[in-house]
């Protein structure tokens, strides 16, 4: 063992407070120390060359540099020693600047501390082991879960980079929530006009395998190599034969008798249906919950859909399919649901027929919606309309303390659209705070106020009905006066909650949730699209309430992370990770409980735990808790740390 020790003056930064010759003298005699030198600036070229030369000339196998913080120059010197052919993990640094010369005032004490720290580093370096990073092959394909705008964007971006992409959507069509919207704020683009071309692109893309009416059942594996099982629910329609002509839906005995999910229950459909006319794929689907034949075994003499379908696409004998795929990376884009305002009983949703949610109104506006885009609510055109903001947002009582980010603006948009359709309408928005933070949002807010929409600060207290008319009670907090407004339509600015599918997907992928129940990103500022599970990324409202541009931006971000991964033939796994001594492991699974990354895996055959090198992050938590000491934390082994302890006391 030959350790080279290099003490840096850092100009006067260290040398002024630490008596460097004294340090050199103290270290020179230490066990294993082959050479101990001092220099003005170790990080400079001549400094680095000095080390390289000594490694080559003297055959040093460990190097210690006593200088600044390893957080500053450890990478620099690791590269230096590697240049000279030494394993970079055999390098060690003693921090005698940030944690010594800069913070102490007594030269003698600082010098003694510097000696202790360098000795401790030498002792540690003597026990360091050369480490090699392992290589893991990468499967060059990706899975995107959720076919809303975020999932669509992510899938297109990945596929356009040349990688096979599986897009899984549980509904019969992709499009997600955005497909339900009429127009988008603040530009008032028609949502369908900008979304449907993308949907078609997805369907036609040679690199995209679109799996609609399908659900992810099981996921295992890790970064670079996930194994996924997908359940394809039976549509009872042969996708190759269905032309999307729609004669079957016309013929269905239940036509117009089943609430349409897509129309938020306002519109009706039959048992065989497409959710909306621009659906992709344009394939009809039989709803087994309602279809007379599937549910009761009998539909008149014979099912009318089957009778009328010339190509013979109806297949009542179709069965569930299970597909296994391998992918290198996963994008989770499970989106959101509208908050159900039933629990906010003071607003009378579900009790008073003219109280509706934002998303319901969106369907009323839509030209393809149940009223053909005419603003007819329960048969009449409303004249007095009140919007209530923050329903299910910023509300601790119902457990949604967060701001839903989009409600202020969609209320402004809907108020504008209503005013456009009903010019003589009285429209009042009761709001808590106005949050118009995006590009063009504040301007749009001004525009709708100019159009005569009245904004009154103060959230609605309650809605009551008297003589078939609704009244909304509130305080105008700027006037400090309580008031009541009559209304023939009350629109609740309902907030966003995570999609219920997030539960199962989250469990399968072991993703954490933040307090708001949306998926937790790896870092709130710097890694907003990553998760703590390597190879799994987030896009869109699955991570938190988001508007369309933010969802699209995040989706592209997630896609670029996926592509960064998939372009590699192999990924290098950091060698500073935990290793298990399988002979000593008793399989008590303590480490499995501890690890946030699912790195320890139980081997049922061997009855021991193994460590998945690809996902271990090297925190060492498991090594500290392993009762039998079977887990070794590379580069931070017990004996390496104890050697340091012994030297500093």
């Amino acid at each position: 063992m030959k350790v080279g020790v290099y003490i840096c003056h850092c100009g006067v930064n260290i040398a002024n407070m630490v008596d460097i010759p004294k340090v050199v003298e103290a270290i020179s005699g230490q066990t294993n120390v082959a050479v101990c030198k001092e220099y003005q600036y170790m990080c400079s070229d001549p400094g680095q060359n000095m080390i390289r030369k000594d490694i080559e000339d003297m055959g040093l196998d460990r190097v210690v540099v006593a200088a600044c913080s390893p957080r500053m120059h450890e990478p620099t010197f690791r590269a230096t020693v590697a240049d000279a052919g030494m394993n970079p993990y055999c390098f060690e640094m003693a921090n005698i600047r940030e944690q010594c010369s800069w913070v102490h005032e007594d030269k003698e004490e600082a010098t003694q501390k510097a000696i202790d720290l360098v000795k401790s580093s030498v002792a540690r370096a003597s026990l360091l082991e050369p480490l090699q990073s392992t290589e893991i092959p990468v499967t060059h394909s990706a899975l995107v879960i959720g076919g809303g705008i975020a999932g669509i964007q992510a899938a297109l971006d990945i596929a356009n980079s040349g990688f096979k992409t599986y897009l899984v959507e549980k509904e019969p069509s992709i499009g997600g929530r955005m497909a339900q919207f009429d127009k988008t704020f603040p530009t008032l683009d028609c949502a369908a006009c900008i979304l449907t071309p993308k949907m078609v692109d997805v369907a036609r893309h040679p690199n995209i395998d679109l799996l609609t009416y399908s659900e992810v059942e099981h996921i295992d594996g890790s970064i670079g190599n996930f194994h996924v099982q997908i359940k394809k629910k039976p549509r009872y329609v042969d996708p190759d034969l269905c032309t999307g002509c729609g004669l079957c839906a016309e013929a269905c005995r239940l036509k117009g008798r089943i609430s349409s999910e897509f129309d938020m229950g306002i519109g009706k459909r039959g048992a065989i249906y497409v959710p909306f006319p621009q659906a992709v794929p344009l394939l009809y689907t039989i709803d087994p919950e309602n279809c007379l034949l599937l549910k009761h075994g009998k539909c008149g003499k014979s099912p009318k859909c089957e009778d009328i379908c010339d190509p013979g696409a109806i297949r009542f004998d179709q069965e569930e399919e299970h597909i296994d795929i391998d992918v290198g990376a996963i994008v989770v884009a499970t989106g959101y649901n509208e908050f159900s305002p039933v629990v906010k009983e003071e607003y009378g949703y579900g009790k008073f027929k003219n109280v509706m949610t934002g998303l319901e109104l969106e369907r009323i506006f839509s030209p393809s919606g149940p009223t053909g885009g005419n603003p007819i609510i329960n048969g009449t055109e409303p004249k007095n309309i009140v919007f209530i903001s923050c329903v299910g947002s910023r509300d601790k009582r119902i457990g949604n303390p967060y701001c839903s980010r989009v409600c202020c603006m969609y209320i402004a948009k809907q108020a504008h659209l209503l005013k456009e359709k009903i010019p003589d309408a009285n429209i009042t928005v009761m709001y808590t705070d106005m949050r118009a933070f995006g590009k063009g949002y504040e301007e749009f807010y001004e525009r709708v106020q100019k159009e005569g929409i009245r904004y009154r600060r103060g959230n609605a207290a309650e809605v009551y009905e008297e003589d078939d008319l609704l009244f909304v009670r509130a305080e105008d907090t700027l006037l400090g006066e309580p008031y009541e407004l009559p209304a023939d339509l009350v629109v609740l600015g309902t907030g966003l909650v995570p999609s219920p599918d997030a539960d199962s997907i989250g469990q399968m992928l072991h993703l954490s949730r933040s307090a708001d129940k949306f998926f937790l990103e790896a870092h709130p500022k710097l890694r907003p699209v990553d998760t703590v599970i390597d190879g799994v990324f987030l896009a869109g409202a699955a991570q938190g309430p988001k508007d369309i541009p933010d969802s699209v931006a995040q989706a592209s971000g997630a896609a670029s992370h996926v592509v960064n991964l998939l372009v590699k033939e192999k990924i290098h796994a950091e060698p500073i990770i935990a290793e298990i001594n399988e002979d000593a492991c008793v399989g008590c699974k303590t480490c499995i409980v501890l690890c946030p990354y699912e790195a320890p895996l139980y081997d049922d055959e061997k009855k021991v735990v193994t460590i998945n090198r690809a996902v271990c992050k090297g925190c060492g938590s498991c090594a500290a808790a392993c009762p039998s000491g079977s887990i070794k934390m590379n580069h931070f082994k017990n004996e390496q740390i104890v050697a340091q302890i012994l030297e500093v006391i």
Binding site: N95, Q112, C619, G620
Partner: protein
């Protein structure tokens, strides 16, 4: 004992928060007593009880553990485990007759240089007034 008592303190600092906080104290030139000897680990949860007790056994008057604030752990939730482990160990030490003040756990973020230096000054004071570790005396007797 005529010689002035200078406590020996071993500090185990997590790389991401507390170690960076100590660096921050350095770059900001915030002075604190030189008693602590810092050992860097990646996460405060890497520290096992054996190491801590070994430090005491070897003659440390006190042990300091520094990690990230809850919610900031680089490894999601390692610091929750650290807290639990240290809380139990503190009780165990006091049952053994070792003042639990000798073991201190603090959360220091990378930005909290000031907190780090203040904590060091305060901790050194505490230990100075407590006097040398009883284990150190036992060790010296044995020699």
């Amino acid at each position: 004992m005529t010689e002035e008592f200078k406590p020996k303190i071993v500090g185990f600092l997590c790389n991401w928060c507390c170690y960076a906080g100590a660096d921050m104290a350095g770059t900001s030139r915030m002075k604190y007593p030189s008693n602590i000897r810092i050992i860097r680990v990646m996460c405060s949860s890497r520290i096992n009880t054996e190491m801590i007790i070994k430090a005491f056994q070897t003659g440390a008057d006190a042990v300091f553990i520094g990690g990230c604030h809850f919610g900031d752990c680089h490894y999601v939730d390692g610091n929750y485990r650290t807290k639990k482990r240290i809380d139990v160990l503190k009780r165990l030490l006091s049952h053994m007759g070792i003042e639990q003040e000798r073991l201190r756990l603090e959360w220091v973020s990378a930005a909290e240089g000031e907190k780090f230096s203040k904590t060091m000054a305060e901790f050194t004071d505490t230990i100075t007034s407590l006097g040398p570790s009883p284990l150190r005396e036992i060790k010296e007797e044995a020699i």
